[in-house]
């Protein structure tokens, strides 16, 4: 059976951009779906790709791929595939948490397609890659075609998310890169994720920590969770509790309790709020105590 073109639905306008300028000029022409990894856009249920009128394929913009380091800052191109994050030598050396998180992301096949930019813009409450980026105080670079020219802005990742699937990205903006400062030598960062399957899983809970110690006391702390709120979040009360303290058993125990109390998980088909709070406490303790 040959398929005839679909009945009155599906994109009427398509561009395979090869430069950022070409891409944002297309976006300026009207609301568009962006094809990056395709791992959300192409999903059959709800067929987002069929329901859009304009389709922008950015997979040919090579400038958006790759990891670079300059002046103490790392830039990850938005189109960098998750599997490329896994093996990237700069990330392995300077921010291994991102590489480790990538290793726990879905499956090989999905990792080969999904992009860091897509994961950020899709803004799932689970947002696997978002969690470590929050730990790294990441910043997003967005570009649009405005007033006959390229307009660029940077926005902190923390604060970029409005709710499930909703971000501060304007319809004509393209996420081009994620930036963060190279963590110092004493920065310990780890990621943890739940579920019987190691990776192909929307996490029941995901957690990441980044901390520095100064004479055994916490001098820098970032704690982030996924799947415990409408968006990936930091845990400011837990962070405040830990600042300046030595990581004794009591401090760690209490940190777990505070984390469990400050998150706002719901009951859903994957897990109950009880279990999410329970896991958040467990992961907080393990991340702080360096347990597996």
């Amino acid at each position: 059976m040959t398929s005839v073109a679909s009945v009155g639905s599906g994109p009427e306008d398509y561009s395979a951009a090869t430069s950022v300028e070409q891409a944002v000029r297309f976006l300026a022409g009207g609301e568009s779906a962006i094809l990056a990894g395709g791992t959300d856009l192409m999903v059959e249920a709800g067929r987002a790709v069929t329901n859009c009128k304009r389709l922008l394929n950015i997979r040919r913009i090579d400038a958006l791929r790759g990891v670079t380091e300059k002046d103490g800052r790392i830039s990850v191109g938005a189109l960098t595939a998750v599997s490329d994050l896994l093996g990237d030598p700069v990330l392995r050396a300077e921010a291994p948490i991102l590489a480790d998180t990538a290793d726990r992301f879905a499956s090989d096949q999905i990792r080969n397609m999904a992009t860091i930019g897509g994961n950020v813009c899709n803004a799932s409450p689970a947002g696997d890659l978002i969690i470590p980026l929050l730990i790294l105080d990441a910043e997003l670079e967005l570009v649009a075609w405005r007033n006959d020219g390229l307009a660029s802005r940077r926005v902190a990742l923390d604060g970029f998310f409005r709710g499930p699937g909703q971000t501060a990205r304007e319809a004509d903006e393209l996420l081009v890169a994620v930036h963060f400062a190279v963590p110092g030598d004493g920065f310990h960062a780890r990621f943890m994720k739940s579920g019987p399957r190691p990776a192909l899983e929307i996490a029941t809970v995901a957690a990441a920590i980044g901390l520095c110690l100064d004479s055994d006391r916490v001098s820098h702390i970032r704690l982030a969770f996924g799947s415990v709120a409408p968006k990936p979040i930091r845990a400011p009360r837990t962070e405040a509790h830990l600042m300046g303290k030595a990581l004794t058993e009591d401090v760690i125990e209490e940190a777990g309790a505070i984390a469990a109390a400050e998150i706002t998980p719901i009951d859903d088909v994957r897990a109950s709020a009880w279990y999410r709070r329970h896991l958040a406490a467990v992961y907080t303790r393990r991340l702080l105590g360096n347990d597996t």
Binding site: S3, S6, V7, S9, A45, S194, R197, T204, Y275, V282
Partner: protein, 771 residues
Amino acid sequence: MKPIEKKSVIGGRVPKPDAPDKAIGRTQYINDIELPRMLVGKILHTDRPHARIRGIDTAAAKALPGVHAVLTGDDVPVLTFGMNKDNVPLKRDKVRCIRDEVAAVAAETEAICDEALRLIAVEYEDLPGIFDPAEAMRPGAPAVHDERPDNLSLAYKFDHGDIGAAEAESDVVLDDVFNVHYVTHCCMGPGCVIADFDTEGRLTIYSQTQYPYNFKMDIAPALGMHPGDIRVIQPPVGGAFGSKLDVYPFEPVAALLARAARRPVKLVFSREEEFINAPTRQPARIHLRTGATRDGILTFRDVDCLLNNGAYTSWGPTTPYVMMRTFSSHFRVANVRYRSQAVYTNNPYAGSFRGYGNVQATYATASHMDMLAERLGMDLLTLCLKNAQVAGEVSPQGSRLDDMAFVECLTVAGEKTDFTAKAAQYTAERERPGRIKRGIGVASSIHNAGGAKIHKSDGCGTMLKLDDYARCTVITGASEIGQGIDAVICQIVTEELGIPMADIIIANDDTAIAPWDVGVHASRTTFIAGNGAQRVAQKAREQILRAASHQANLPWEALDLREGWVVQDENGEPVVKLDKLLREMHFQDEPELVMVADYYEPPSEAEGPNHTGDMSAAYSHAVHVAEVEVDTETGEVHVLKVTSVQDVGRVINEMGLEAQVEGGIIMGLGYALSEELKIEDGIVKNPSFRDYKLVTAPEVPELDLHFIESDSKTGPMGAKGIAELPTIVIAPAVANAVYNATGVRFRDPPLTPEKVARAIYEHRAPKVAAE
């Protein structure tokens, strides 16, 4: 020419004949088939579990270009089908569960079908839904079917001995309720059917069915047809596991569309539709009381089962037939009482699924054995051995337990795993500090292994022909669903006829050609189709050797067939090449072709109305030992190793046998730990692989398989059926191991991380008052 030695292909590691085509992507599965001028069919399912249909407006859908047929219940005669004749292909007055088929469309493309479905407007009047079977039994509960105001469906009872007296003699009585859950088959090939009528109104249906002959009988009423006018073609399928042992509405719907459109119609489920519409395993609330003496002798089992029938009745509510067998025959028990009641609700309904009631019942019986051992202060294996039947016993339901190896299975399992010592060690370690705990658990069960006489015949027809080149075709009624009957039949025929396996074709996919078989179920196919194949092969062998005896100058019994030659049996001296002989037979004055037929009926009995009868020609046991590691904080259970000891009668294809056992164990692990179709208020909440958790490659434990050959006197070459026991036994083995590790008993699978974490947390934490 040198003498030819006798070489056996039985017991070897034989690749499946259809594997090469599957490996290169050449196999045309039913989902791949396109017929000329074929249309796409799709169903409009209801979006609510209980409502009256006030009206359906199909005008806009019918007017859409490319649409060839739009049907609702009003467009077709009311023709009921199903176990209780309570189902129709397209629903008219009411929808009773979330699957209900309200309308159907046939159109030129999938996109046009989708658009047409969107254009169909249905007006519903919502009715209160009833979802809990206990609630549904109460007076005043909403009636799912108006004709059955009490919502009662099938009920079963069985009695043997005297429960009251047995209880009085018991030193220990365990009393527990086990709630076993909804799971679904997750065949990789989603539901698919192609219907095609000829000019005389006769139907050819391409179906995933596992029971093609009775399928004709069961689908005919839904179409107002005579079963003889229905031809079933069975292309290769992407799995079945019991999901295709009944007629489900999507198949007659496709036929109704094909009839209305006067063109072939192919209907395929999306994965989401598959999750919602494929029949589930039968869930059950099992109230089990088990009695024993202080010496560990089982005295009685008293069982009350409440089954959620769902909105319509398929095979699920008949699983008590098999559950009874577990409760009466899993170990020696002198007194048994079994009661079950299925109750209609507005839920999706259950069918048959590998293990068929035995999975559910064994979860209860094997858990109770573990609990009994602890209560009596006895080692579990010792307790099992005290109650294990030996060859020659007859069960309370009249099963003749010949050719048994239960004791040997238990003994080997214990030796290979050092179970007793480890169980004691892990029990001692339970209370020590440390969040990772190890545990070891044992479970066993019995299942029919020589067919199951649930229909008037449990037989299989087989025909065999040889051509002038000594190429063989075996036409069998047995269906190949991926389980490997093709390899087994080839091996048996090769063993008898000395023809290379590559020269044998199995033809079994067209009811117009192949003879009757009752279907793939009850672990019967190797036993019954294998016996059928052996019988025709032996008939052919005799015919050939008789034809050769003159030129050999020997009686035919002194001859043999080896590697394409007739030879002297005693010394392997070649007599005549087989293909040459066949041509001589064909072109002689009175031509003789080798074309033989046989119908094999196993020596078993249908159950009488009191549920007694030796309903299988053989029975088998399996014992599993599971070793686990539990993270007591996250609740994650990692299965480290599964040791399986199974009585297989005789190994025919060692590789195929391992493959089935491995697959069955992993399927059962999913049942134990992670699979659960979550249905709330009649709605399936997790209809995707994302949220329905199958076991994946990284989670496979170390598997140590042992096969005991009890050499069945009734089985082909001594073999018995094997494929369901691996799925039946593993879940309680894992649950028992988790108990050993944590001291927490789980009566309600699956043992998900959340459930385990919560139970351990509550087990350890002092109860908070007034929570």
